[in-house]
């Protein structure tokens, strides 16, 4: 290991923590006996929004965080710019 990479080395524990948080948020939906809750929510939210605005499948982000006190559901929908605005 060069001296430079030694000093640039990022600590690995935060990476572990982040990977686990992402993975477990996904797995908890599946293992709870129900089908993937997050995926299901994503589909249904998308269907409702599409009645009014056309959004792409990839532009809907649904995240769920479980905690001992509160759980949060984070939904982010990217709405396309009105037609002509970008032209």
């Amino acid at each position: 290991m060069s001296l430079l990479s030694f000093f640039n080395r990022r600590t690995s524990a935060p990476v572990a923590r982040e990977r686990l948080q992402i993975l477990l948020a996904h797995e908890r939906g599946i293992v709870g006996g129900k089908p993937d809750l997050v995926a299901q929510l994503r589909e249904e939210i998308l269907a409702v929004v599409r009645r009014h605005v056309m959004v792409e499948q990839d532009n809907v982000q649904v995240k769920m965080n479980r905690d001992s006190d509160i759980s949060t559901l984070e939904i982010e929908i990217e709405i396309p710019a009105p037609a002509g605005a970008t032209a």
């Binding site: 524990a13 572990a16 948080q21 477990l24 006996g33 479980r66 905690d67 001992s68």
Partner: protein, 271 residues
């Protein structure tokens, strides 16, 4: 009233058997009548860790199937008379553990003991589900390492859905026991911190067992670490965990093995 406690983790090698033996001996030290049951059918090891491997005659399966009386299978610890062991079978299949049979044995044990500690096998198959099935309390043993945390999360899900208590609409009391923790490495960002694991798993912490040579030293000689060296860092950490398990509020510290200059210079003593 007797309490049935399951020591579980999902992942293997994180310290379930070590912890079962250490918690059992620490509880017994406080005067409680304790039995530790090995649920690892086919791969028993609790007898070896507790130094009773040459005294096994009958086992859990024999009792479950009615081939032996409970008293014939129970092995009383030679060092502490209020500590007993119910070994697992080495030859039988884990399918021999029937739910009714296990329930019957546990009910019989409830009459005789204050604490019934079920040492779960790794995995999420029959042995593990049987070990947790009738528990009142669970100790989830976790190492500060990604695969162990993931498996613990999975086990917590099972504790909340597949135990008898959960099925009746109750909630099983769950505690996290973080083992093989190295505070120095965590501080340097090389290991998940206590807070990280707690935040991810969201269950209360019952103790932090520091990485220590004393654990191997104790299993080498077949003695729970709380009995072999109660003053060692892991010994003290397990005693603190037991006090919390009994409902006491104990300040959370991570004990360390203090080495004198002599110890630093010459390292280990022979065990």
């Amino acid at each position: 009233m007797a309490k049935v406690l399951v020591v579980t983790s999902g992942k293997g090698g994180v310290g379930k058997t070590t912890s079962s033996a250490a918690l059992g001996a620490a509880l017994a030290h406080g005067g409680e009548k304790v039995v530790v049951i090995d649920f690892d059918v086919g791969l028993r090891n609790l007898d070896l860790v507790m130094g009773a491997e040459r005294r096994v005659v009958f086992d859990l399966i024999n009792v479950v199937q009615g081939d032996a009386k409970l008293n014939q299978a129970l092995i009383r610890d030679k060092r502490m008379e209020n500590l007993s062991l119910l070994p697992a079978s080495q030859t039988r299949d884990k399918d021999a553990l029937t739910e009714e049979g296990v329930a019957r044995v546990l009910n019989e044990l409830r009459e005789k003991f204050d604490w019934i500690i079920c040492d779960s096998p790794a995995g999420i198959e029959r042995g593990a589900t049987m070990a947790m099935r009738h528990a009142d309390v669970a100790v989830v043993v976790t190492n500060p390492e990604v695969s162990s945390v993931r498996d613990s999360d999975r086990i917590i899900g099972l504790l909340d859905s597949k135990t008898e208590l959960a099925e009746k609409g109750g909630r099983i009391e769950k505690h996290l026991l973080l083992t093989r923790y190295d505070p120095a490495r965590a501080e340097r960002g090389e290991m998940l911190k206590v807070e990280d694991v707690l935040e991810i798993l969201s269950i209360p912490l019952i103790g932090i067992i520091p990485e220590s040579e004393e654990v191997l030293r104790a299993s080498n000689v077949g003695s729970p670490v709380t009995l072999n060296n109660p003053a060692s860092a892991p010994g003290r950490a397990y005693f603190d965990a037991v006090r919390r398990l009994k409902g006491e509020t104990v300040e959370l510290t991570i004990p360390t093995d203090k080495k004198g200059l002599f110890g630093k210079l010459f390292g280990r003593r022979a065990a």
